[in-house]
C-alpha cells in the first residue's frame, strides 16, 4: 500500500503514546504486543478497500489509548510534563474561581451568549486536571458533559424562576436534560457494546 511506512509509523506513535500512560514495568511488553498487530491489520485482505484498512489500523492504535485507562495495575496517571500535583491543583482552583465568576455573569446577563462559552471553558479547566488524575479520556468527556450540563441547568432554572412567563427558559432546561440523558445512554452503549 502506498504510504504504508508512514501509516505504520503513525500507528506506532499512537501505541507508544498510549503505552506511556502505563507503569514502566509493563510499557515495553505492551508496546511490542500492540504494535505487532499493526502490520497485520494493514495487510488484512478481508478488509476492503485498502484505505479502510488504514483507518482500521489507526483506529486500533488510537483505541489502545482508551484501553490504557482500563488496564489493571495501571499507575496513577499524571499530567504530561508535570512532576508534582501543583499545576493541576492550581488549574482546579483557577477553574473553580472562573466557574463561580462565569455563573454569576451568566445569571446577571442570561441573554449574553459569550458568558455560556466562558462558563463551558471554565468547566473544562476544572474537569480536565481532575479527569487526568481520576481515570480515562471517557471520564474526561463525561465530566465535561455532566459538569457543563448541570451548570447550564442551574443557570436555566434560575432564569426560569426569575422570569416564569418566559417559555424559552423551559425549553432550555428541557434541552439540557436531553443532552445529559443522551450522554448517559451513549456511555452505557459504549460500555455494554449494545444499543
Amino acid at each position: 500500500m502506498k504510504g504504508e511506512r508512514a501509516l505504520l509509523r503513525a500507528g506506532e506513535y499512537l501505541v507508544g503514546f498510549a503505552c506511556r500512560r502505563l507503569p514502566p514495568e509493563i510499557q515495553g511488553e505492551r508496546y511490542r504486543e500492540w504494535a505487532a498487530e499493526l502490520p497485520a491489520i494493514l495487510h488484512d485482505r478481508e478488509i476492503r478497500p485498502a484505505p479502510y484498512r488504514a483507518v482500521r489500523m489507526l483506529g486500533y492504535a488510537a483505541d489502545t489509548l482508551r484501553g490504557t485507562g482500563l488496564m489493571p495495575g495501571r499507575g496513577r496517571p499524571r499530567l504530561a510534563g508535570t512532576a508534582s500535583p501543583l499545576w493541576p491543583g492550581l488549574l482546579v482552583v483557577a477553574g473553580s474561581v472562573a466557574v463561580v465568576w462565569d455563573v454569576r455573569d451568566t445569571v446577571r446577563a442570561p441573554g449574553h451568549w459569550v458568558n455560556y462559552v466562558q462558563l463551558a471553558w471554565a468547566l473544562f479547566l476544572v474537569a480536565w486536571p481532575i479527569s487526568q488524575y481520576a481515570g480515562s479520556t471517557v471520564r474526561m468527556t463525561g465530566l465535561i458533559v455532566i459538569g457543563g450540563g448541570l451548570a447550564g441547568l442551574v443557570v436555566c432554572i434560575w432564569t426560569a424562576v426569575q422570569a416564569p412567563g418566559d417559555w424559552v427558559n423551559y425549553v432550555s432546561v428541557f434541552l439540557l436534560l436531553v443532552l445529559v440523558l443522551v450522554w448517559y445512554l451513549v456511555r452505557r452503549w459504549v460500555r455494554t457494546g449494545q444499543a
Binding site: 511490542r32 504486543e33 500492540w34 504494535a35 505487532a36 484501553g67 482500563l70 488496564m71
Partner: protein, 115 residues
Amino acid sequence: MTVPLERVLRAFLEDPTAPRYGYDLMRAASLHSGTLYPLLARLEHQKLVASAWETPQREGQRPRKYYRLTSEGGRAAWLELARAARHQGAPGRLLPGTLAPGRLAPGPLAPGTLG
C-alpha cells in the same frame, strides 16, 4: 458478566485449546482494542488466561502474543456462560454466538472487575 467478557469467552470456547492473538480475538468478539486488551489483562491476572510470545518465522517479523484459556479458565467460562443462559431462560443456548446480548447475572469471575 459484561457483554464484552461474554464475547471474549465465546471466542475462546470456539476452540478452547487454540491460542488466539489480539487482532484475531478482536475480530471474533467484535471488540475494539481499548476494550479487549484490558479484559485480557484482567483474565490473565486471574490466571484464567495464559499468554506466550510466538517465535518469529522470518527475520524482521514482530512476534505476536498468543492467549489461550487455562484449564481453570475453560471451566469458569463454561460455568459463566451456562449461568448466563439459565439467567436468560435458555439453558440450551450455550454454543458460541447464540446468546442474546445484554447484562448477565454476576458470577465467580469477579463481576465489576472484568470488562
